[in-house]
C-alpha cells in the first residue's frame, strides 16, 4: 500500500525545485479537488502534471485548449453508425482519471463551462444520457499569465471551482543549472505507477476522517472573511474558500501522517486557496501592486489560534 509521500518523492525525482507546486498537486489528489497552475511558458507546468498522472497510474488525457475547441471535443459526442443504423456515444477526453487542460484560458467560455461543469458535477450529459466520470477524477489546468491576447479570462465564479491555484515561479540559479544537467540529454523517464487508483481513493477516504477542531474551523472562516474587508480587494473569497481551506488542511495533515489538523496546515495552504478567489480593485493596477502581497498581508493579519 503506497502513501502520498511516495507520490511526492516521485514528483521531486522529476521536477527540479517547485516544492510548493509539487505539494499542492499531491494535496489536491488527497483532497479530491482540481488545481490550476499558473506560470510562464517552460517552467514545467505540463511536466508536473504528466509526472503526477504517471505516478498515480490510471487513465491520463491531455487537452490543448485552443480558440476553435468545441464542448463536444472534451465531453464527447454521438455519432451515427451507418452499419448499425443507430447513434453511438464517443466519450471525450474528460473521461479519464487525470485530465490536463493545457492553457485553459485559450478556449472560449462555452468550452470552459463544459469542463467546469464536469469538474463540479463529476458527470456529463451527452445527448439523452448522463455519464459519470471515473473516480478519482482530477483536473489539472494550466494558464499562462503573459500572452493574454486572444485569451478568454476565467470569471471568478469558475475560478472558484478550483480547489487551489499554484503559481509556478522561475527556478533559482542552482535549480536552473540542475535542470540543464538533468534534461540536457532528453527528458528522463517519469516514475510510473508509484501508487494505484485504489490507493488514491483510500487516501481520500482516510483524509476525510482527519479531525478538525472548532478552533481550526474558525481560523479558516476568519481567513476567508478577512479577504472581504481587505484593502485593494473588490470581491473577497466565498464560503467555498473556507471549505477548501479545511479540506486542504485535512489533506496536509494526512500527508504529514497526522490524524488532526493544526493551524500550520491552514496557514500553509491559504495562499493557494485564496489567491484565485479574490478580485482586486483598480488601484492595484494603477499602483503596480502585487496581488500576492495582498494575499500575504491578509493571511498575516489573522492571528492563528
Amino acid at each position: 500500500m503506497s502513501k502520498p509521500r511516495d507520490v511526492l518523492d516521485a514528483l521531486h525525482a522529476t521536477i527540479v525545485g517547485q516544492d510548493e507546486v509539487v505539494e499542492a498537486l499531491v494535496l489536491a489528489v488527497i483532497a479530491g479537488g482540481h488545481i490550476l497552475l499558473e506560470g510562464a511558458p517552460g517552467v514545467a507546468k505540463t511536466l508536473a502534471c504528466r509526472a503526477l498522472a504517471a505516478a498515480v497510474g490510471g487513465v491520463f488525457r491531455r487537452v490543448q485548449f485552443t480558440p476553435d475547441l468545441l464542448p463536444s471535443d472534451i465531453v464527447g459526442t454521438r455519432i451515427f453508425d451507418q452499419k448499425s443504423g443507430d447513434f453511438t456515444t464517443v466519450l471525450g477526453p474528460l473521461f479519464a482519471n487525470v485530465v490536463l487542460a493545457d492553457e485553459i484560458n485559450r478556449a472560449p467560455a462555452k468550452v470552459q463551462s463544459a469542463l467546469l461543469e464536469g469538474m463540479q458535477e463529476r458527470r456529463v450529459t451527452i445527448g439523452p444520457a448522463t455519464h459519470d466520470l471515473p473516480a478519482p477524477f482530477i483536473v489539472l489546468a494550466t494558464m499562462n499569465p503573459y500572452d493574454t491576447e486572444g485569451t478568454y479570462a476565467l470569471p471568478l465564479a469558475q475560478l472558484d471551482r478550483f480547489l487551489a491555484k499554484a503559481v509556478v515561479a522561475y527556478p533559482s540559479l542552482d535549480e536552473e543549472r540542475t535542470i540543464v544537467d538533468r534534461f540536457g540529454t532528453g527528458e528522463p523517464p517519469l516514475r510510473a505507477n508509484v501508487a494505484t487508483l485504489d490507493d488514491v481513493l483510500r487516501w481520500q477516504r482516510e483524509a476525510h476522517d482527519v479531525f478538525v477542531d472548532a478552533k481550526i474551523r474558525d481560523y479558516a472562516v476568519d481567513l476567508t472573511r478577512a479577504t472581504r474587508a481587505a484593502d485593494l480587494v473588490a470581491h473577497g473569497a466565498s464560503p467555498r474558500a473556507a471549505l477548501a481551506l479545511v479540506g486542504l488542511a485535512r489533506a496536509r495533515a494526512y500527508l504529514e501522517g497526522r490524524t488532526f489538523a493544526v493551524p500550520d496546515d491552514v496557514r500553509d495552504v491559504a495562499p493557494a486557496v485564496l489567491r484565485h478567489r479574490i478580485s482586486y480593485d483598480d488601484r492595484i493596477a494603477i499602483t503596480g501592486g502585487d496581488p500576492e502581497d495582498v494575499v500575504r498581508r491578509i493571511i498575516a493579519s489573522v492571528p492563528a489560534p
Binding site: D213, V262, A304
Partner: protein
C-alpha cells in the same frame, strides 16, 4: 391611603433602581460558568484551590462583573485572575488559594455574574454550581495517662513565672527611669529587596498550575500561549514559528504535545494532556539548570 401611596412610591423606586441596574449591565453571551475545587477533602491548615471558569462569546478585556463566593472563615492565600481573549470569545479563570482554619463541611455558593443575556435580551444572573469541601481536623492529640501530671507541672511553671515577673518588673522600671532617655532616631523603613523580573518560565509555571487545577480549553490555550512566548514568539504565531524560534529540545517536546492536546481529537485529550504536563515539567526543571553546564 398614605400607606398605599408610600408602598406605591417604594415599588416605583425599586423599579427605577432595577431599570438603572439593568441599563448598567453589559450584554453578554455566557457559554459556561463553572466552579471546582482541586480537592474535596482537606485538613485544617492545608492549602487547596478553588477555580472559577467563565466563557463568553464576546471579545472583552475583563469581566469585572464576576462575583466570587464568600470564603467564610477560610484564609485567602491568593487570588489570581487570568483572561484569555480572542475574536472567538473570552475565557476567564479565577483561582482562589485557600487555607481552612476550622474543621467541618463547607459549601461555597456558586460564583455569579449579572449581565443582559444576549440570547433573551433580559437582565439575568448567571451562577456557577456550588462546591462542597470537607475540612478535617489536624492530627488529633492522643490523651495519655500523664496528662494530669503535665497539667500540674504547667501550672507550677506558670505560677513561678508570674511571681518572678512581679518581683523583677518594679526593679526594671526603677533602673530605666534613672537612665537618660536615648535620642529618638528615625530608622528608614527597610527597603524591600527588588523582586526579580518575571520570566516566561514563571508564566509557564503559573499556566501549568492553572491547567492542573482546571484543565479547560482556556487554561490549555493559556499554557500553550505561555510556551510560545517562552520559545520567543507571540500569540497568533503557529507551531512552526515557535519551533524555528528556539533550539531548545525540551521546549520543542512541550510545544508539540501542547499542539496535539489543543487540536487533537477529544478521545486522545486525556493521554496528550498527561504528556503535556510531563513535557512541560521536564522543560521547567531543565530550564532551572544554568546554561553552560
Amino acid at each position: 391611603m398614605s400607606l398605599g401611596r408610600a408602598a406605591l412610591g417604594l415599588a416605583f423606586a425599586a423599579l427605577l433602581t432595577t431599570a438603572a441596574h439593568a441599563a448598567s449591565l453589559r450584554t453578554l453571551h455566557v457559554d459556561a460558568l463553572s466552579m471546582r475545587a482541586d480537592r474535596a477533602n482537606v485538613a485544617v491548615g492545608e492549602v487547596f484551590h478553588l477555580a472559577i471558569h467563565i466563557r463568553v462569546r464576546e471579545n472583552v478585556a475583563a469581566l469585572d462583573e464576576l462575583v466570587v463566593p464568600d470564603v467564610g472563615t477560610m484564609k485567602l492565600e491568593g487570588d489570581e485572575r487570568h483572561v484569555t481573549s480572542s475574536p472567538a470569545g473570552t475565557d476567564v479563570v479565577e483561582t482562589l488559594t485557600l487555607e481552612p482554619t476550622a474543621a467541618g463541611a463547607f459549601t461555597f455558593k456558586g460564583a455569579y455574574l449579572d449581565a443582559v443575556d444576549a440570547r433573551t435580551r433580559k437582565p439575568s444572573r448567571f451562577s456557577a454550581n456550588p462546591v462542597r469541601v470537607v475540612v478535617g481536623a489536624g492530627a488529633p492529640v492522643t490523651p495519655t495517662m500523664f496528662a494530669p501530671v503535665w497539667r500540674l507541672m504547667l501550672g507550677i511553671i506558670l505560677a513561678g513565672s508570674l511571681l518572678l515577673a512581679a518581683v523583677v518588673a518594679p526593679i526594671a522600671v526603677l533602673t530605666m527611669r534613672q537612665r537618660r532617655a536615648p535620642p529618638v532616631v528615625t530608622v528608614p523603613p527597610p527597603v524591600a529587596p527588588a523582586q526579580p523580573p518575571r520570566t516566561p518560565r514563571d508564566d509557564v509555571a503559573d499556566a501549568l498550575r492553572a491547567y492542573r487545577t482546571a484543565p479547560a480549553t482556556s487554561s490549555l490555550m493559556r499554557l500553550r500561549g505561555a510556551l510560545f512566548v517562552a520559545a520567543g514568539v507571540n500569540a497568533g504565531a503557529t507551531l512552526r514559528d515557535a519551533l524555528a524560534a528556539t533550539p531548545d529540545r525540551a521546549l520543542h517536546a512541550a510545544l508539540i504535545t501542547a499542539e496535539r492536546t489543543a487540536f487533537g481529537p477529544a478521545h486522545e485529550r486525556d493521554t496528550s494532556s498527561a504528556e503535556l504536563i510531563g513535557a512541560t515539567e521536564t522543560w521547567l526543571s531543565a530550564a532551572l539548570v544554568p546554561s553552560g553546564r
